[in-house]
């Protein structure tokens, strides 16, 4: 067992985990963050995508089936459940996915939204083509992606109009935590 300290959706957890435990199973089975789902076993589908930020790095989308829980030590994770406050206004991407009917069964949606958060952080005004290639690592079987592309455009416009990214997309670094150490091999 290895001790990790990880902040997930704004709450710090100190836990002992098996070194082989994947981040997605740590989130789901230990923390009950079942909004993050497992869709495949080869890191193709992206359903498990979360945002991960180091002490000194901005959040990036990672496939949590492709990250060991121990690699998340001293990192901040944002899952779909922490992207907006419960009962509060939704993240512009959540709102746009709803408005544009960009989901049907909804299984890929958490990963699709979080990958889109990352995409818009990189490129606040993407073209259709840039959205499509940017989301290539996230599979959806229901929508044919067209409404997802529309939703990402809408959210991008809304976020540009607001002049800033929404705070939840970039969780503030927790100053109380020590600097990152090397991830155990």
């Amino acid at each position: 067992m290895t001790r990790i300290s990880v902040t997930v959706d704004g709450v710090r957890y100190d836990d002992d985990v098996e070194p082989r435990t994947l981040l997605v199973y740590y989130l789901r089975e230990r923390l009950g963050k079942v909004g993050t789902v497992v869709g495949c076993d080869t890191s193709n589908c992206g359903a498990c995508t979360v945002l991960m930020a180091g002490p000194d790095s901005s959040p990036v989308a990672v496939k949590s089936c492709n990250v060991l829980a121990v690699q998340a030590d001293r990192h901040q994770i944002t899952t779909i459940e922490g992207l907006s406050d419960h009962g509060g206004p939704q993240h512009p991407l959540q709102q746009a996915f709803h408005d544009r009917h960009a989901l049907q069964c909804g299984f890929c949606t958490p990963g699709m939204i979080l990958a889109s958060v990352d995409l818009l952080a990189e490129n606040p005004d993407p073209t259709d083509e840039e959205i499509r290639t940017g989301l290539e690592g996230n599979l959806c079987r229901c929508t044919g992606y067209q409404n997802i592309v529309r939703a990402v455009h809408d959210a991008a416009a809304a976020m540009r109009a607001n002049g800033a990214t929404v705070p939840a997309a970039r969780p503030a670094a927790d100053a109380s935590q020590p600097a990152a150490e090397e991830v155990p091999a």
Partner: protein, 808 residues
């Protein structure tokens, strides 16, 4: 209690945003895999690594010594309890229907078949212990190719059956009295076209892997499953295992897509059901994606031989279809019936004089096939739309013109087809004209001519697909005549709560379709209540007692009528109560906008909510009136419904590399009247995406030993956003006659229409090179080879086909 305020004039027809989304976009979802129960154990399944073998021995003792392992089961341990997995559609009296054990007992007949089950305290321990189970397999010959399987002396998938042919099912219009004989048509013909098409094997690849939790600790055994069919699952679990039906409760919580792939009673459900009861503890099994691709049922996999006879003026006369349909190693819930759903659709929208359909189901050592989006109809539509293009080329006629000369005119409905169905309504002219205008058909044809003339290495092709399909499965009497084991009705209940809010219980079982939203819209209009005042309940046999679930584009077309009828009963029950309150005669009342009013007096009405409160109190009801407004309705359709449409696809094909780019795609669908245009468009998008997937990307491939080599999403190419084009969608609306909502069905239309549109476009681009077919999926390599092979053949024979196609 003014429930009608702020309500649009009509909910039906408006693009309501979905109620379902709130939980799905915030991760507050209820997938089966999310469930954890006290004392719950986890199952892991050891699967056969070989396609066909006798199980010589299984030693589970080493696995039992592993940490955390509670039990290990083999097929012998549960053989009595598990029975045989069901096939509900034995299509002929003499069908060969082998036993289908959930957990193999004597023999494995396809790679991935379940052989042993580890039960452990957690998922990882269960998976770890699989490696400790020792199985000795005695290999048996592997049968993969359908034609080889039917040859004299072929090795057998089921040795005791003496044949690999499951059944042969025939429809002949001359025998059925629905048309002439294909022999006569051939004799009368001036042109006869013969083609063979292959429907490659596909995998439904729903995004949520299947998962099942069984809790045997209560008075009912409760089964949560990622299924499309909770009601059918409950019935069949009870029937197969002998468990009293009222002691089984099935819940389909949030279900992440199905596309027919979760229309099954699965081996994994049966294994979990039996083992949970054996151990007396809750168990959970969730498949990995690799297990899903390997062992969840596949779709399509047919060889289609067609003969079309016609006159030189383009008039089609006869169509003779011979089909080989790969069953896989066993028969699933509707495996043998899938080709029959296509049998009635090969004649499509055309007025054939004669039709004959023969289908033989063939066993092979592969994963079983069963329903996948469209189930039989995409195969039929592909074949007829492809061969109509071949006829157009043979006659030197524009493919649209050929179709115009043969399709059923809008004034000819209802139309009795050569396949024995009665098409309800349609307007093929309107949909086609709209699609042609949206695509800019004439301009693209002109550009195509220029590119051909200039020997442009990137050629342009235009593909046509004028499809129809049958929705609204299904009239129970028709199903009975086809030997299907159940009916095709649907059920709905409407409960008026004392506060005027409404609970709707539907027998449909949505898994992405948006029933909660669409059903709310329907009820809002019928009862004059607010959209947000309706709660739609489904997918739990304790709440939704009766239902036949969701597949075959049936939910709205059949379940929607049940819902409307239940609402009308509610209004009828409320009427005497309102009359009593208004001190008038029932016959003086009218019901509009959610209120009963005395006719001619717009003031002083009583709302349904007033009536609901009145029956709740029950202090002052007319004599003999039941104090309830609740109502049930069960509707059995009298006919299928027949949506149709015209899909046009323009592709650019790089003849040097074989790469295809979809330049534009136009879908004009007529799915009857529309409840929610947003949801309809979404269904078309998703269906077309899957149809394009079949045309360009997807194929389940076995190697010579029967190993699935497309066993992960690395190899099985579910299209990504980067692989698909933007679609132009539009509609025409021809109401379904006799339906209170005028709706037809839309769930499968896109998947049915798209595949031939794309492949016709590719072949159209390559006609100057002498290419008249490219097998699916049309990968760059296959296109490149088709050009090369046609070039070689052209060089050897007629030079005409070589025009514009110089090949190095």
């Amino acid at each position: 209690m003014t429930v009608t305020d702020d309500r649009p004039a009509a909910e039906v027809g408006s693009a309501r945003r979905r109620k379902e989304d709130a939980r799905l976009i915030t991760g507050r979802t209820n997938w089966t895999e999310n469930l954890t129960l006290p004392g719950m154990l986890h199952l892991a399944i050891l699967r056969s690594p070989v396609a066909h073998a006798r199980i010589a021995s299984i030693d589970v003792a080493p696995a039992l010594r592993e940490a955390g392992v509670v039990a290990v089961f083999t097929g012998r341990d549960i053989a009595d309890a598990q029975g045989s997995l069901p096939c509900a559609w034995p299509v002929t009296a003499d069908i060969v229907h082998p036993d289908h054990p959930a957990l193999a007992v004597e023999e494995v007949r396809h790679a991935g078949e379940a052989v042993a089950v580890v039960v452990a305290r957690d998922r990882a321990s269960a998976l770890d212990a699989l490696a400790a189970i020792e199985v000795d397999y005695d290999p048996l010959p592997v049968v993969l190719d359908m034609e080889a399987a039917l040859a004299e002396g072929a090795d057998l998938v089921h040795a005791d059956k003496g044949t690999n042919a499951s059944y042969t099912w025939i429809y002949d219009s001359a025998q059925a009295g629905s048309g002439g004989s294909v022999e006569q048509a051939r004799a009368d013909a001036e042109v006869v076209i013969r083609r063979r098409y292959r429907q490659q094997r596909l995998i439904p690849a729903f995004m949520e892997p299947r998962s099942v939790v069984v809790d045997p600790t209560g008075d009912q055994v409760t089964v949560w499953s990622a299924t499309q069919i909770p009601h059918i699952l409950r019935f069949l679990l009870a029937v197969i295992t002998g468990t009293p039906e009222h002691k089984v409760r099935v819940i389909a919580p949030d279900v992440g897509g199905g596309f027919g792939g979760k229309l099954q009673v699965t081996a994994e459900e049966m294994i979990a059901f039996v083992i949970a009861q054996r151990l007396g503890r809750p168990v959970k099994y969730t498949e990995s994606r690799s297990e899903s691709l390997l062992s969840a049922h596949h779709g399509r996999d047919q060889i289609q031989d067609l003969e079309l006879s016609a006159k030189r003026d383009g008039t089609v006369l006869g169509l003779h279809v011979k089909l080989l349909a790969n069953m896989g190693a066993y028969l699933g819930i509707v495996t043998p019936g899938v080709p029959l759903l296509g049998a009635f659709m090969y004649n499509a929208i055309y007025k054939f004089a004669a039709y004959r359909f023969e289908c033989t189901g063939v066993f092979t050592n592969t994963t079983l096939t069963d329903a996948y989006r469209g189930a039989g109809r995409p195969e039929a539509t592909f074949a007829i739309e492809r061969i109509m293009d071949e006829l157009a080329v043979e006659l030197g006629m524009d493919p649209i013109e050929l179709r115009r000369r043969n399709w059923i005119g809008t004034g000819e409905f209802p139309f009795n087809t050569v396949a024995g169905l009665t098409y309800d309504s349609g307007n093929y002219e309107a949909a086609t004209d709209k699609a042609l205008a949206l695509l800019g058909y004439d301009e693209l044809r002109a550009e195509q001519a220029r590119r051909r003339e200039s020997h442009d290495p990137v050629q342009l092709g235009i593909g046509v697909s004028t499809y129809t399909e049958m929705c609204g499965l299904a009239p129970s009497r028709v199903l009975g005549a086809l030997r299907y084991g159940a009916g095709g009705w649907e059920h709905a209940s409407v409960r008026l709560l004392p506060t005027g809010k409404v609970e709707v219980v539907t027998g449909t079982s949505p898994h992405g379709q948006g029933h909660e939203t669409a059903w709310s819209q329907i009820v809002a209009d019928q009862l004059g209540v607010g959209f947000d005042d309706v709660e739609v309940l489904h997918g739990d046999t304790r709440t939704s007692v009766r239902g036949l679930d969701t597949y075959g584009s049936r939910s709205l077309a059949v379940g929607g009528i049940a819902l409307v009828e239940a609402c009308r009963k509610v209004v009828d029950k409320a009427k005497p109560i309102a009359a009593h309150m208004l001190e008038c005669d029932v016959s003086d009342l009218e019901f509009t906008g959610g209120s009963f009013r005395v006719r001619g007096n717009p003031d002083g009405g009583r709302t349904l909510a007033d009536c609901a409160l009145a029956v709740f109190a029950a202090h002052d009801l007319p004599d003999g009136i039941e104090p309830s407004l609740d109502a049930d309705a069960t509707y059995d359709p009298v006919n299928f419904s027949f949506p149709h449409g015209t899909h046009l696809c323009a592709v650019e094909v790089d003849t040097d590399t074989g790469r295809v780019g979809i330049r534009s795609y136009v879908a004009v669908d007529d799915v009857g009247l529309v409840v929610n245009p947003l949801i309809v468009e979404g269904q078309v998008h998703g269906g077309v995406a899957q149809g394009i997937g079949q045309a360009l990307y997807e194929e389940a491939v076995y190697d010579a030993d029967g190993n699935l080599v497309t066993g992960t999403l690395v190899d099985y190419l579910v299209p990504s956003a980067a692989d698909l084009p933007n679609l132009v969608t539009d509609r025409t609306e021809t109401a379904a006659p006799g339906h209170p909502l005028g709706v037809k069905g839309v769930g499968e239309a896109g998947a049915i229409a798209a595949t031939p549109a794309v492949v016709n476009a590719i072949v159209d681009a390559l006609r100057p090179y002498g290419v008249n077919d490219v097998p699916m999926p049309c990968t760059p390599e296959r296109i490149w080879r088709a050009i090369r092979d046609a070039g070689a053949a052209g060089a050897a024979g007629s030079g005409e086909a070589q025009e514009g196609g110089e090949q190095s």
